[in-house]
């Protein structure tokens, strides 16, 4: 069901990964994504995968929980895999009429798929182990230097906080509306693609109206509590770097070196 999507969801815990400063995790995630694009052979992916697996193990987030929420995403990856597989020219491995699979196509498709899977699981690890509020606090602090050149860092962070905060609310709302329409005999599962698209209208319109209502209430509540933007705001819980963050920083540097070194390993295939 729609509730099962765990993208952007927080998994409560107190592991060393959970306790890291949000800024550390944001930087580590960004670095990891960049490193996935530095990698140019399967050795690199093997190392990157092992590192990710280690982080998952330390964080104690159940693997089942991570994957349950990514089924839809994996479908999209499977789709790009197939597209890549058939669309690249090169040494032909298999051919049937106009369809052909080439060595280069296979390699490209595999590369892209592995890269995307690692990328998505890697960034899910950040949201799974960081409270949304910490995440946006961290982001705001990281963006602070850019406010010198006019970047509205507080507003960006606030928009993210609100978006993240309301994902579960809107999911709950969607769930309720779907059930209410099913109770009136609505059928979302059968019919061709046009009929199915049309059957979404009874869900989307009430959802739209609810979102506006929620947004209006929120704006009013913020104004009533004298919200007036970022200038001069202080916070109740300041975030601090700790010893774990230093350790994480060292590991990140080592890992970056390993990944760069992996480019010079001989390819397996």
């Amino acid at each position: 069901m729609i509730r099962d999507i765990t993208l952007g969801q927080y998994y409560p815990g107190s592991s060393p990964v959970h306790r890291l400063d949000a800024r550390t995790k944001i930087i580590a995630t960004l670095l990891y994504i960049i490193e996935l694009f530095i990698v140019n052979n399967f050795w690199g992916f093997l190392i990157a995968g092992a590192a990710l697996f280690t982080v998952i193990a330390i964080s104690r987030v159940p693997v089942k929980f991570i994957f349950r929420g990514l089924t839809a995403v994996f479908l999209i990856i499977a789709f790009t895999f197939v597209i890549n597989l058939f669309m690249v020219d090169g040494r032909i491995l298999w051919q049937w009429k106009i369809f052909k699979i080439t060595y280069e196509g296979l390699m490209r498709a595999l590369f892209m798929a592995v890269r995307l899977v690692l990328l998505i699981i890697g960034s899910s690890m950040m949201t799974l182990t960081t409270k949304p509020i910490e995440l946006t606090d961290g982001l705001e602090k990281l963006l602070k230097p850019f406010s010198l050149i006019g970047l509205p860092s507080h507003e960006i962070a606030l928009m993210m906080t609100i978006a993240l905060r309301f994902i579960p609310t809107l999911m709950e709302e969607t769930d309720k509306i779907i059930k209410a329409q099913q109770a009136r005999g609505a059928d979302f599962e059968s019919g061709n693609i046009f009929q199915r698209a049309k059957s979404l209208i009874p869900i989307l319109i009430p959802l739209f109206i609810s979102s506006f209502r929620i947004a209006q209430d929120l704006a009013l509540a913020m104004e009533a509590r004298c919200y007036h933007g970022g200038a001069g705001r202080t916070r109740m819980n300041e975030i601090h770097f700790a010893r774990g963050d230093a350790a994480a920083a060292i590991l990140m540097i080592v890992f970056l070196a390993v990944i760069i070194a992996s480019r010079f390993l001989p390819t397996i295939f």
Binding site: P12, R184, G185
Partner: protein
């Protein structure tokens, strides 16, 4: 027509963080033409229970029988069950989506695959049954109506499917006193003219006492009390222990009998309380 629930259990998010046992062995039965009132603290499992009665939720264990037919064995046709058991959610006005009131009410009947004439007929009857002026309202947008009207349109949308059981989850929540009274008299009217089973949840004890043939009290996913309203509301202390209360009239009479021990009272409604007081005054006037 009857509805029978046998040892129902339901768990939200099994094996995940936030695992909640929402129903923990619930059994009851409602027979033809009866009104069942359901009370319980917020989070006691009332809404979860109602969603099992038309197959929206599948129980972890236990069974639901509608008219003797099991709807939880996976063989029953869902459309058939939803035609028989109409469920009106809490704040049903949030499910309205069509351009006009008539079209919105027609959504359910259309999903049943009825003929155009049949649909038009049912829409008109349903809107009139919920106490709205069909001609005046049929072409207006449901979003222009008042809160109470919206809610009645949403209820008409379920009535138009001609269910044999009508389930309402907190049908009067958030309404002003006059809309509240309208919705209550509407439920009575539906019950009288269609003669169907009605199951409703309410936090208004006076409404429960007034309307129900039977009352069940839920707490932590179980039924802790059941019986005729008078029986259930005689357990005042137990109810307040669960964050519930007796009816206002009952509470006043309890207080008065504490002051005047020879005024014996078992009144639930204001009318009954008034009658008892009148009787007491007449009896003691001449002493």
């Amino acid at each position: 027509m009857s509805i029978e629930v046998k040892d129902l259990r339901y768990v939200y998010n099994p094996g995940m963080p936030g695992e909640t046992v929402a129903l923990d062995g619930v059994s009851f039965e409602v027979r033809d033409g009866e009104i069942l009132g359901v009370i319980g603290h917020t989070g006691s499992g009332k809404s979860t229970l109602l969603q099992h009665l038309n197959g929206l939720l599948k129980p972890a264990s236990g069974d639901v029988y509608v008219d003797g037919q099991c709807i939880t064995d996976g063989k029953a046709k869902l459309v058939e069950i939803r035609r028989k058991v109409g469920l009106v959610f809490q704040y049903p006005e949030y499910q309205l989506f069509e351009e006009t009131v008539a079209k919105d009410v027609a959504f359910g009947p259309k999903n049943l695959g009825l003929s155009e004439e049949e649909i038009a007929d049912r829409v008109k009857n349903a809107i009139e049954l919920v106490g709205l002026d069909f001609e005046a309202i049929k072409d207006s947008s449901p979003f222009e109506l008042s809160g109470g009207q919206k809610r009645r349109v949403a209820i008409a949308g379920v009535i138009a499917m001609h269910p044999s059981v009508l389930i309402l989850d907190e049908p009067t929540a958030g309404l002003d006193p006059s809309a509240h009274a309208d919705v209550l008299s509407m439920i009575r009217r539906i019950h009288e003219s269609m003669g169907i089973i009605i199951i409703f949840v309410s936090h208004n004890m006076a409404d429960i006492a007034d309307m129900s043939d039977w009352v069940i009290v839920m707490d932590h996913g179980r039924i802790v009390l059941r019986g005729k309203p008078r029986e259930v509301f005689s357990h005042g202390e137990m109810l307040s222990g669960m964050g519930l209360a007796v009816t206002p009239a009952r509470a006043i009479m309890n207080r008065i009998s504490a002051e005047i021990p020879d005024l014996k009272s078992d009144a639930l409604t204001i009318d009954e309380a008034a009658a008892e007081l009148r009787e007491y005054i007449n009896r003691t006037k001449n002493i």
